[in-house]
């Protein structure tokens, strides 16, 4: 039994926080109200001033296992999630071997049951070994609960292959997540084409390389009657393309934006800082502003981190050699609060809706909420405290994040899932 006194409750339905006591009994929210009686033998937490919100859900993470356990494991990845107030994740299938079969998926899910304190879901590949040629067998993956199919990390290059996959897999109730880029245009180097790519002397990756595939894949979904989810959109025109397709209302399209594309631009690369190297690349201030507009408007259904751990050695190489991607689970919630909620750019409702409720709905799960009768799945967040993202603070095996050693406003104090207190920070 746990009584949280005078918490300010956040929900997806209102920017206004509701101050109340919350009583959790046997993993369920039993009562919400003012001046609730202190239960006998129960724990009482004075939550005055702190925000109680449902646990976040990240529908785009790379846990690297199997194959790249030097970067991350299911244990370290899920602990990073808990550390950042995230109580559920969807793994991407670009492991080694790739998650392109029921066997591979079963192994990961078995491991996750033993090694993670939060639910870990996984997506499956569209094509065998993500090669974009032969369709992966999906029936067995579906039986294990896979809903999302993606060759993330790469675009399924051949549109005919993707169209056939969409026609086929849609009948199994599955949807597609697209990493969007024309490889011939994007090239291997993750810098937006423009002033910054000129200055760095790196051949840039133009935004149109991404926008062409965003449009292509929605068109293919339109033709196939499929549901396509556009991953990590980075450009203004990309956002506007999705907005236009959504306004037509004749294709099921959802989309995501990452915290880093909302917060950083290409200039942050500065002197070849590999913690700003990712794909799609950071673009300009105009793109950044448009993405925020798209999030507030609802063009983007969800926020996902694209949590992409790499070892310190890999990221300490030169900018061209260092791999793409940054971690996000340890930092996402605090950084979203610091950059957007605290300065009033969007409200708690947007945060809860886009990083907790909608990602769960995308995966066909019920949204978590702080309501009587709901399972306990909540985060207590101190808006007055600060978090310094030292290497020791981070629970991910890798610390390739632009937030390294930065101090931001906000702190995850408590994470509760069911009958378990997953995190309690003093």
């Amino acid at each position: 039994m746990l009584l949280l006194q005078n918490a300010r409750i956040a929900s997806e339905n209102s920017p206004v926080l509701l101050e109340s006591d919350v009583l959790i009994v046997e993993g369920k929210i039993q009562d919400i109200g003012s001046n609730l009686a202190i239960p006998e033998g129960g724990q009482v937490i004075d939550a005055r001033g702190r925000v109680l919100m449902p646990g976040m859900f990240d529908a785009h993470v790379h846990f690297r296992a199997p194959g790249f356990e030097n970067k991350e494991t299911i244990t370290t990845g899920s602990e990073a999630a808990i550390n950042g107030g995230v109580t559920g994740v969807v793994m991407m299938p670009n492991t080694r071997p790739a998650l392109d079969s029921a066997t591979a998926v079963a192994t990961v899910l078995d491991n996750a049951r033993d090694r993670s304190r939060i639910p870990v879901y996984t997506s499956g590949c569209v094509t065998k070994n993500r090669e974009g040629k032969e369709l992966a067998e999906i029936e067995g993956m579906r039986e294990l609960g896979v809903k999302m199919l993606t060759d993330d990390g790469d675009t399924t290059a051949d549109p005919a292959v993707l169209l056939r996959a969409m026609q086929y897999a849609t009948e199994f109730g599955m949807f597609f997540a697209s990493h969007c880029e024309v490889p011939e245009l994007a090239g291997p180097r993750a810098v937006n084409e423009g002033v910054m790519s000129y200055r760095l002397g790196i051949k840039g990756s133009p935004a149109c390389a991404e926008e062409i595939i965003i449009d292509r894949d929605i068109r293919l979904a339109h033709a196939a009657g499929a549901h396509v989810h556009i991953q990590h959109v980075s450009s203004k025109l990309g956002m506007e393309t999705i907005r236009w397709w959504k306004s037509r209302g004749d294709v099921k399209v959802t989309a995501e934006v990452t915290p880093h594309h909302l917060m950083f631009i290409d200039e942050h690369i500065g002197d070849y800082d590999t913690n700003y190297k990712m794909n799609p690349p950071l673009r300009t201030q105009a793109d950044c502003d448009a993405l925020l507009e798209g999030l507030i408007e609802g063009v983007f259904d969800i926020i996902s981190t694209d949590h992409a751990p790499h070892t310190p050695f890999e990221k300490a190489q030169d900018f061209i050699t260092a791999p793409n991607g940054i971690t996000g689970l340890d930092t996402a919630l605090v950084s979203l609060y610091h950059h957007f909620v605290e300065p009033g750019k969007f409200g708690w409702d947007v945060l809860v809706k886009r990083y907790s409720a909608e990602p769960r709905r995308l995966m066909g799960l019920p949204a978590a909420s702080i309501e009587v009768g709901q399972p306990a799945n909540c985060v207590l967040f101190d808006t007055e405290a600060e978090t310094t993202f030292t290497r020791d603070f981070m629970k991910s095996k890798s610390q390739n994040t632009p937030f390294i050693d930065q101090t931001l406003k906000g702190r995850v104090d408590l994470v509760i899932l069911g009958t378990e207190v997953l995190l309690e920070r003093e």
């Binding site: 084409e193 002397g201 300490a316």
Partner: protein, 326 residues
């Protein structure tokens, strides 16, 4: 005022540039003496780490180092563990253990010399990193121009060719602008991107560029080896549209303009044969000046001390830096 490394022109301060060009002048005077060697770097070691082919930059650095009495070692990339897949970082750890004083590095990856500089106490000189910078080339170009125009302020330099892939264009244009020289780019639309700095005039038409009335025409090598896709239809068409043809050379000669080129030249592409014998061609002056400029740089840099840290974007903003960027 001394620095550990020379990685780019962008971060050089005006007084540093002035100092280096003055020093180059003093070193050049040595060339007329019968004994050309001085003991400035006696007992110091210079390691040449060239991951990309080079004739003139490599030999120029070697000659410069030897004239300063340094011991020069060539790191043989082709026969090293690099061909066994050793990463650059591991190579650097090896080199750091050898306690070499100077590392002259050329690599196809932009920013790589900076990464090396942060991991060694040796002075690192960038001898060309991809399409990023080639600071000693810029210094020798500026020195060569100043020999002809002692007060170069207000002079105009037209750089013709493959701007997109050129580290020379970036470094030299940045340095010339710091000296008060106006710079314009001319080349095919596919190689002179629209997003070059606004301070540089952008031309895609030869006549229009000449109407801008340059004092120096600076030709870039057409780098076929850097072009993974085609940027213009043919070398013949390039020569006709953007090259210094015989007819154009006559016009340039009438106007009394200087011609420069970082070498090696592609005859019949960016220039016709006759340019090599043109009386106002400064191409051999550039080669000669390369040695004194590199002596000045080696003499100026001070190895040792702490490893410099990577300057983050945030720290850079806070530092209120006056550093100009290209």
């Amino acid at each position: 005022m001394a620095r550990k490394d020379l990685l780019d022109i962008a971060s050089l301060h005006p007084e540093e540039i002035e100092f280096l060009l003055d020093q180059s002048k003093s070193f050049k005077k040595l060339f007329t003496h019968s004994v050309k060697r001085i003991p400035a770097l006696e007992g110091k070691s210079v390691l040449m780490l060239f991951y990309e082919a080079s004739t003139r930059t490599h030999s120029s650095f070697e000659v410069a180092a030897k004239r300063l009495s340094a011991e020069v070692t060539n790191f043989d990339v082709a026969h090293s563990s690099i061909s066994k897949g050793e990463s650059v970082r591991e190579t650097i750890e090896t080199l750091q253990a050898m306690r070499t004083d100077y590392i002259v590095v050329r690599h196809s990856h932009p920013g790589l010399p900076g990464m090396i500089a942060r991991q060694t106490t040796a002075s690192v000189i960038n001898a060309g990193d991809g399409a990023h910078e080639h600071p000693t080339q810029a210094l020798l170009d500026a020195f060569t121009i100043k020999e002809k125009f002692p007060d170069p302020r207000g002079k105009k330099v037209l750089i013709i060719g493959d701007i997109l892939h050129s580290r020379v264009a970036r470094s030299t244009s940045t340095l010339l602008q710091k000296l008060g020289i106006e710079v314009a780019y001319l080349g095919p639309g596919s190689l002179v991107p629209k997003y070059v700095p606004a301070s540089i005039h952008r031309f895609t038409d030869y006549e229009a560029a000449m109407a801008w009335a340059p004092d120096v025409v600076y030709l870039l090598r057409v780098q076929m080896e850097r072009q993974d896709v085609q940027f213009f239809p043919s070398l013949r068409e390039y020569h006709r549209v953007y090259g210094i043809t015989t007819a154009r050379l006559a016009e340039i000669s009438d106007l009394g303009l200087y011609i420069m080129h970082p070498g090696p030249v592609n005859r019949g592409v960016e220039l016709c044969d006759a340019v090599m014998d043109y009386e106002r061609s400064l191409i051999t002056n550039q080669v000669e000046n390369g040695i004194s400029v590199r002596m000045a740089v080696l003499d100026w840099l001070k190895p040792g001390g702490e490893f410099p840290k990577q300057v983050s974007y945030v720290a850079r903003q806070r530092a209120d830096s006056t550093v100009l960027t290209p």
